[in-house]
């Protein structure tokens, strides 16, 4: 049976230190738990974007293959790593939530394709910005619904994409690769370093 000590044995300074320790641990736990999925998503998406956009800018003739292979590999890698990461914290509510997330992304892809089909973008840049906006919209929805602390990064990436599209059309793909993809990788490493 656990022993209980006399409260008088602990000084106010010790109590303050203990409360600070508890507060720091709770914050660290929440941060680590909330950002574990964000880290994986950012690093995988960042690498795919970096390689894909750079190929579109410099070797457009093979960029279709690079994007196809990158997207397939990225999806598989993200799913496997996310699944492994998710297994570190078990919860009975995880499976239904995962199904809802999967269905949400499937529907978002459908809506994205439908929008592009209706809008008929005139060039690759327009199609790209549509896709980027839909992906970032999905990320915002995920963050708002499941982990508020992981919302913020989708907003600057969206802003960067819009700046590149409207102000720097000649280097749009290079801009998206280095600042969009590279930015995600740097963010992921920053999040990981704070765990």
């Amino acid at each position: 049976m656990a022993k209980k000590s006399d409260p008088m044995n602990i000084s106010p300074n010790e109590a303050e230190e203990a409360l600070a320790t508890i507060q720091a641990m709770r914050k660290k736990t929440l941060h680590s738990y909330a950002n574990s999925g964000t880290y994986i998503t950012l690093i995988v998406t960042g690498i795919v974007w970096l390689v894909g956009f750079l190929s579109t800018q410099f070797v457009p003739e093979i960029s279709g293959y690079v994007w196809t292979v990158g997207s397939i590999l990225g999806t598989i890698l993200g799913t496997v790593l996310g699944f492994r990461m998710g297994k570190r914290v078990r919860s009975p509510s995880t499976a239904p939530t995962a199904k809802r997330i999967g269905l949400f992304w499937l529907l978002l892809v459908f809506y994205g394709i439908a929008t592009i089909a209706v809008a008929r973008p005139t060039d690759g840049k327009q199609a790209t910005i549509f896709i980027v906006l839909f992906i970032m919209l999905g990320q915002l929805a995920m963050g708002l619904l499941f982990s508020f602390s992981s919302v913020w990064w989708a907003l600057p990436i969206t802003a960067l994409a819009l700046v590149g599209y409207f102000l720097l059309p000649s280097i749009f793909y290079l801009w998206m690769g280095v600042l969009g993809g590279g930015g995600m990788i740097v963010l992921a490493l920053y999040i990981r370093s704070r765990w």
Binding site: K4, P7, A15, L19, T29, Y33, K87, R90
Partner: protein
């Protein structure tokens, strides 16, 4: 008045309980996740978990995932209760400063 708890007050155990109580009651965490979070060794964590389990403050669930043994840990309702009482007692000491 809420009472301080000697078992929980030990620094590593205090951090273990803080981490477990922060998660939802239905959640249980992997041993290695907890070890990384607390930055302690396997042996150190194992020893403190045993003390908390003996006191009935945590539940240890050992199972096989993909044929590999895994240990999951969660705070019990009793553990959550004494942890909150411990925090209340600490706060009352601080208020009386």
């Amino acid at each position: 008045m809420a009472a301080l708890n000697e078992t929980i007050h030990q620094p590593v155990r205090l951090r273990i309980m803080a981490a477990l109580v922060t998660l939802e009651p239905t959640n249980e965490v992997d041993f290695s996740y907890l070890r990384d979070l607390l930055q302690v060794t396997d042996g150190n964590l194992g020893a403190h978990l045993r003390k908390l389990e003996e006191a009935g403050y945590i539940a240890v669930n050992k199972l096989f995932v993909e044929r590999k043994p895994r240990t999951f840990v969660s705070a019990t309702p009793a553990g959550r209760k004494v942890f909150h009482e411990h925090v209340a007692a600490l706060e009352s000491i601080l208020k009386s400063k």
